[in-house]
Amino acid sequence: MARDTGIGARVKRVEDQRFITGKGRYTADLNRPGQAHAAFVRSPHAHAKVGSIDKASAMEVPGVLAVFTGEDLAADEVGALPCGWAITSKDGSPMVAPGHPCLAQGKVRYVGDPVAVVIGETLSAARGGAEALEVEYEELPAVVDLDAAQSSDAPLVHDEAARNTAFEWELGDKAATEEAFAKARHVTRIDLVNNRLVPNAMEPRAAVGEYDSGTDGFTLYTTSQNPHVARLVMSAFLNIAPEHKLRVIAPDVGGGFGSKIYVYPEETVCVWASSKVDRPVKWTCDRAEAFLSDAHGRDHLTHAELALDEQGKILGLRIKTKANVGGYLNLFASSVPTYLYATLLSGQYDIPAIYAEVDAVYTNTTPVDAYRGAGRPEATFVVERLIEVAARETGMDPAEFRRRNFVTSFPHQTPVIMMYDAGDYAASLDKALELIDYSGFAQRKSQAAREGKLRGIGFSTYIEACGIAPSQAVGSLGAGVGLWESAEVRVNPVGTVEVLTGSHSHGQGHETTFAQLVADRLGIPMTNVAIVHGDTDKVQFGMGTYGSRSGAVGMSAISVALDRVVAKAKKVAAHLLEASEGDIEFKDGQFTVSGTDRSIDWTSVALNAYTAHGFPSADLEPGLKEGAFYDPTNFTFPAGCHICELEIDADTGHTRIVNWVAVDDFGEIINPMIVEGQVHGGIAQGVGQALLEHTVYDESGQLVSGSFMDYTMPRADDLPSFSLDFTVTRCPSNPLGIKGCGEAGAIAAPAAVINAITDAVGHEDVAMPATAEAVWQAIRKSPAREAAE
């Protein structure tokens, strides 16, 4: 039994039964008795002063119940959305991070910034009211272009942020890095754009806020990756209700990719408004609104340099990055281009000196925050592009160049905070080279050329820091929270088990993998295990799911709780078997007195733990339930090698990926099928970023690519069938040896694609997204072609 469902088994996802048959329960599926509907009035301007708002214009619409504006929120002292990670600038000054009002307080700073909410009997009435609401705007010049935003004549997004700069941060040893560059034999220099992405989870955000005047308490049903954090922010910063009077439920959630970590204006307003109108208030985002209001991802401009000695060994790396944070510094936005980014600039390489400078810059665009990978894809893109270009410039094979510079002994302290605990980078590279038949590439390339196709190959030997994170470490770096996880294992009298976890599943398959762990440990069928998550009234405080942390941190907490449950169960078994506790062995669901045939099974122990007849009351409490708060000792460091092989239609510039090999080291794997699914999805998103996803604002700050007719999401026919494999070095920093797998694909993929395209066209001037036209233009600039013409 355990072999079919235990650790390492390819168990089909138990949650898929309900998802695929339409039985999932998402926030938008919930309808509360007496519920009213909310529609938000959003700024049509990128930058404007908000003048008078004529509520009567909307109240006249039949079915409109109420109109609320920023003034109403202010009157109730509802706070602004904060940024929860404090960053200090080079000069020692704190970051400039004015809060984001849930409804505009006098000014709007991006198209889509909420200005007012209209509550209606029906959705149609609410929308009619929103459309009718007369708002006076005084348009201000907008700053949209990241590169120009820090110039002295740029309009200011926030008066308090001079040069539109939230902070100017640095990491690493500047002097040592300068020295490394001074003695370099070769320096590689590149300029990169990391394009802005719109997250586009399949399920748009939604919320139902409900006030109960009987208990003076609130319930919020919402699309959240971390309901406890939402509750904390709403009570501690937004003053909506104290934590014990606010229950946050995140039911089935259809994808997040980071965008559902944050607390947004809409759900905050729904909860607050429910007490104002004394009715549940529901809001469901539509896709057009999602494009404008979900926090976006990426959006960096980077200049990067790599210093090499005569043997092709890396001496130093330095970067200067401008990170677009949009109109406000969102909840975790300050950590993304800093501690989640620059700390990974050492890649898989032994680099003696690194220096990074990052400016966080306001523009009149939608706020930017963590999106699948959060900072680490940006770092990998910089490092892996630099490495590839450096190899080409020095005439070295890119695989060989990487191998020459790999970190090979562990633990390894990088110059940018991280201490890599375990890995074998050459093992992944070797396996990947074999799988893609690297030695046959030249022949495949010339074959393609005969068919009018440009074939290219590109590597990405990425590393990421996951399992975030030791609370002590993140606290010292400015985080406002600790990043442990909680778990509670409740054994029922019949021996079935409920696991209450602070992690949240929104596509990851926790109901399957977490149950596999429990089944494996306790020797019970998976069907006897229920995973409970996403409800602050059921589950004790937990930190939620992001940063590939649920395996390494969330499951580790369950593992510790399981150890405690087993220890307690052994006590019960010892009592029942009249043996000493130290003599009890537990295996495959049986408690045995070692060296005897006297044993008792799991179910009997569970039952006796609750009947508790004849328990010696002093040392044996009734019941079988244990909890744990697990705080990791280090980040985890998943790493691997992705190789992309593609063909370009020289006539049109269209790129077709023909071959994709990924060899990842995620440490121990609970369910390879689920892990492969995570890698598939991650690669798809990374390919989307590299080839397709183009977020375009016009000069006035209107989002021009605001629908699926204009914003290209990756689809099945944009992707090849992937060949995946794994290498395993156990993670020493948690009890399960897990590193995490949720973001790897999205981190690795963009560099592999662009490295392959630049290989095919013969020069480095290809920006993301490498749309067909961009590639066609690049082909026209290619030196081989210019020479021929």
Binding site: T652, H654, H694, V696, T771, A772, E773
Partner: protein, 267 residues
């Protein structure tokens, strides 16, 4: 979406009568263009007349020298039709590459040409094949039907009932899809029929158009090579976030050559 009156007539006469009543009456075919604009509150018809129950508007019929396709026939039905595949394979292939399965199962020929989206596929086929658009009032030659961006020769109260496609000697269509919508960024339909060669371009300009220079060249030598060096002027072509006018002009040449290849291969 605003409130509106919904009608579902079972005859064409009834539909025409309904079109004459009400302030702003729209006919509804597949709804793939009309409904999204209504949902976004960009269109607000007072009345919607659903054509889906009018049998006379559906179906595919082969006649002497032509294929007649009812206006309410879905793209999927055109793509799957044995008549179309045998007699005008390029037209079946075109229908098979419109949008995605949802779009092909709902969207209709009549809706597509009545809408005359500059990036739609069918207008290129109609123009290159020299089709005749039959309406409740008259017959209109494709050359006169497509007037300008989203503009046709149709009157407000006129319904397209079918399109008659003459069977060509050979024809081919090549499309470079917009990666997001899958509409044509550029599509070129080339056909050799009774009145010679026609090459029609969609996606590139504000409205489908013919390229006489290509037609002349192909008249001498129906081969991709005959098109080498013929350039379409980028001036006047569409430029948007998906493609510059230069790129579109370039793609017209590439797609035209590929359309000729397809025609030669009978695809």
């Amino acid at each position: 979406m605003y409130d509106f009156n919904y009608h579902r007539p079972s005859s064409l006469d009834e539909a025409v009568t309904l079109l004459g009543q009400g302030e702003d009456v729209k006919v509804l075919a597949g709804g793939h263009t009309l409904l999204p604009t209504m949902k976004q509150r960009l269109a607000a018809p007072s009345d919607v007349v659903d054509l889906s129950r009018i049998a006379a508007l559906k179906g595919i019929e082969a006649t002497e020298g032509a294929v007649r396709i009812g206006a309410a026939t879905s793209h999927a039905d055109v793509a799957a039709s044995g008549e179309v595949r045998n007699r005008i394979p390029a037209l079946a292939a075109l229908a098979a590459r419109i949008g995605d399965p949802h779009v092909r199962n709902r969207g209709t020929l009549g809706g597509s040409i009545a809408n005359n989206d500059p990036n739609a596929d069918y207008p290129a086929a109609c123009l290159a094949l020299g089709a005749t658009i039959v309406t409740t009032k008259r017959e209109i030659a494709a050359d006169d039907f497509f007037v300008d961006m989203f503009e046709t020769a149709l009157d407000e109260d006129e319904i397209v009932t079918r399109v008659d496609f003459p069977v060509p000697r050979r024809a081919g269509y090549a499309k470079f899809p917009n990666p997001a919508s899958r509409y044509a960024l550029v599509g070129v339909f080339v056909a050799e029929g009774g009145d010679g060669i026609r090459a029609a371009v969609t996606g590139a300009g504000p409205c489908v158009f013919r390229v006489p220079e290509m037609e002349a060249a192909l008249g001498h030598d129906f081969s991709p090579a005959a098109l080498e060096g013929i350039k379409v002027d980028a001036g006047g072509l569409n430029a948007d976030i998906h493609a510059s006018a230069d790129y579109r002009a370039h793609l017209v040449g590439v797609m035209a050559r590929r359309a000729v290849e397809a025609a030669l291969e009978g695809r």
